[in-house]
């Protein structure tokens, strides 16, 4: 059960990090996150139907595709409202979500879709544990993506610039960082990651154009738990959510499992608004 929680956590990190990235750089809550995830899943489905492409390979195509989509979206739309009142960006991105969702309804209809691969029902025995192969693959793919991302964030100029902008927008601009370009990149990256996570989810769940709402709430719960912007926070938040969810099943009905994320969100809001990491920091006397 612990292992399965960790596997789920890997997925949650990929799913949530895009949200944290965009919030960090632009202070925007990306309400179209769910729409992007859903669209990523459907593109993976279409690739699978048309070319018998494995969703794992599909997700590798989806990632750059949606990176481009995000950058274009930023240049055409988001850039114009990034500096206006939060209410404007919220409603705009919410409108975008509705558009994406309903375009998907028009194209793919409202039936449950799923992708079945040769290994969908296989499982691996490790000692006394029996693990579904799909979950292992998703975890590995997520971990690989995160490793690349961690390297990118800590070792390249662009990655460092993204982190600098999330820490302080004005100071970064004064230091000569092209904040406009960084914002476009961050939005693209966040969108790409959301779609990547969406296409990985096709291995585990069936989906409809409505899909995403629950995952978006989980992603929100994760980033609130993690303190909204930090990479480590997202990882800790994901692990926490996954653990509480898998152990929660022992105590509550399975149909209520999705409520755990909501419950955790409220606990976080009441007791640790700075996220889990702020608890460690304040204990060490650091800044909260």
């Amino acid at each position: 059960m612990l292992v399965s929680a960790i596997l789920t956590a890997g997925l949650y990190v990929v799913m949530s990090y895009g949200l944290a990235l965009i919030y960090g750089v632009m202070r925007l809550i990306n309400l179209s996150h769910a729409g992007t995830m859903m669209l990523g899943a459907f593109i993976a489905l279409t690739l699978n139907r048309a070319f018998h492409l494995d969703p794992i390979l599909g997700s590798l195509i989806v990632l750059p595709l949606f990176f481009g989509f995000g950058v274009v979206l930023y240049a055409l739309v988001v850039r114009r409202i990034a500096r206006s009142a939060p209410i404007v960006s919220l409603l705009l991105l919410f409108g975008l979500w509705l558009v994406l969702q309903n375009v998907a309804y028009l194209i793919w209809g409202n039936e449950d879709q799923s992708i079945v691969t040769p290994y969908t029902y296989l499982s691996l025995r490790v000692g006394f544990l029996s693990l579904a192969v799909t979950r292992l693959i998703v975890f590995a793919a997520g971990l690989a993506a995160l490793a690349v991302l961690a390297w990118f964030m800590s070792s390249t100029y662009t990655g460092k610039a993204i982190r600098a902008v999330s820490l302080n927008y004005e100071a970064s601009r004064l230091a000569g960082i092209n904040v406009e370009r960084i914002s476009a990149l961050a939005f693209g990256l966040g969108t790409g990651l959301a779609a990547f996570a969406g296409s990985l989810l096709t291995l585990l769940f069936s989906f409809t154009p409505d899909f995403g709402g629950v995952f978006q709430t989980k992603a929100f719960a994760v980033i609130v738990l993690g303190g909204l912007t930090s990479f480590v926070g997202v990882a800790v938040g994901s692990l926490l959510l996954a653990l509480v969810e898998s152990f929660g099943v022992l105590f509550i009905r399975a149909s209520l499992q999705n409520l755990i994320a909501f419950g955790l969100l409220f606990v976080a809001l009441v007791f640790m608004p700075g996220g889990v990491t702020s608890l460690f920091l304040s204990r060490r006397g650091g800044r909260g």
Binding site: I87, L90, L91, L98, L100, L106, Y169, V224, L259
Partner: protein, 325 residues
């Protein structure tokens, strides 16, 4: 409410009150009941969303609480009208459960919390069969007054919402909401208790929406979690004021009228993708004129009549501010 607004409102009210006698027909009554309900919801949402600039995507929770309180108590022998205050009180309580932790913090927490609550309440309602009937819904008694009764009670509800919204707008409370929308830090430094006023606005909206939910339950005599707690209810409450004119007195009224008329047509033309049009509309409004139709309307004559400075009846924020924490 200026004198002009009051006169217009009274004239409209008289026409609407007389309409069933002059025109008759049960279609008109049905149309009236639902349109008034939508408008009253839009006005209620606008207090927090428009005046205070705090977007909530979770108002369906209050609508559902109102509907289910009335439904449940009615089945246990209560007079439906007497259940409305109970539903309102429960909704107020619930609004505080959401608002107290979320408004304590600045930042995007409230929006996130409302999205979560909106989705969660539907799941909760589906899983508490003892009270809500779960997925099979709740059949309510069938002895109800005629359609005219509902027409007039919704009209009264809508007028009440309008009056409250107009009074709030002119009061100290309303000014505090506007101040905290424009610049929360500045408002707080001038002694506005930001969290208190946000909570008050949230609760006020919740109470009004819950009363509408209660009457809705009696009108339809059947309630289902997917319907009264549905995300579409919350989306509608966001869309109506935004289409009409966020934070204005008449915007929600205009938006509510349009919304119901358009929604009805779109639903028959595109059963699945009817929200596509609203999504696009929302994006266009936000990109071009975030103040909605009333904003557009004011743009046109202002070129000729009004001086440029007077063109901003509803500033969304002080000049383009850089995001900060």
């Amino acid at each position: 409410m200026s004198r002009k607004d009051a006169v217009v409102a009274l004239v409209l009210l008289t026409i609407l009150a007389a309409a069933p006698y002059l025109l008759g027909g049960s279609y008109l009554l049905d149309l009236g009941v639902l349109t008034f309900l939508f408008i009253s919801q839009a006005i209620a949402w606008n207090v927090l969303g428009g005046y205070a600039g705090q977007i909530s995507f979770g108002y369906a929770a209050f609508f559902g609480i109102g509907a289910y309180t009335t439904g449940y108590l009615w089945l246990h022998g209560w007079e439906p009208l007497l259940t409305l205050p109970i539903g309102a009180a429960l909704a107020a309580l619930f609004s505080l459960i959401v608002g107290l932790p979320a408004f304590r913090l600045t930042g995007p927490y409230f929006v996130i919390a409302t999205l979560a609550v909106g989705l969660a309440m539907r799941v909760v309602a589906l899983n508490t069969e003892a009270i809500t009937g779960g997925a099979s819904g709740l059949n309510l008694p069938t002895q109800v007054p005629g359609k005219a009764w509902f027409y007039y009670s919704m009209l009264i509800l809508m007028s009440g919402c309008f009056l409250i919204s107009a009074l709030v707008r002119r009061s100290r409370f309303g000014m505090a909401l506007t101040a905290l929308r424009l610049d929360q830090a500045a408002a707080a430094s001038l002694g506005v208790n930001v969290a208190l006023y946000k909570n008050l606005a949230h609760t006020l909206g919740a109470v009004l929406v819950a009363v509408g939910g209660g009457i809705y339950a009696v009108y339809f005599q059947y309630i289902h979690p997917d319907q009264v707690f549905g995300f579409e209810i919350s989306i509608g409450m966001v869309l109506m004021p935004v289409i009409g004119g966020l934070g204005t007195l008449w915007g929600p009224v205009l938006g509510g009228m349009l919304y119901y008329a358009i929604a009805d047509t779109l639903l028959t033309v595109f059963p699945f993708a009817h929200l596509l049009v609203y999504g696009l509309l929302l994006m266009i409004i936000m990109l071009i004129e975030p103040r909605g139709l009333l904003g557009f309307a004011r743009l046109v004559p202002s070129r000729f009549v009004m001086p440029r400075r007077a063109r901003h009846p509803y500033p969304l924020a002080p000049d383009s501010s850089v995001p900060s924490e």
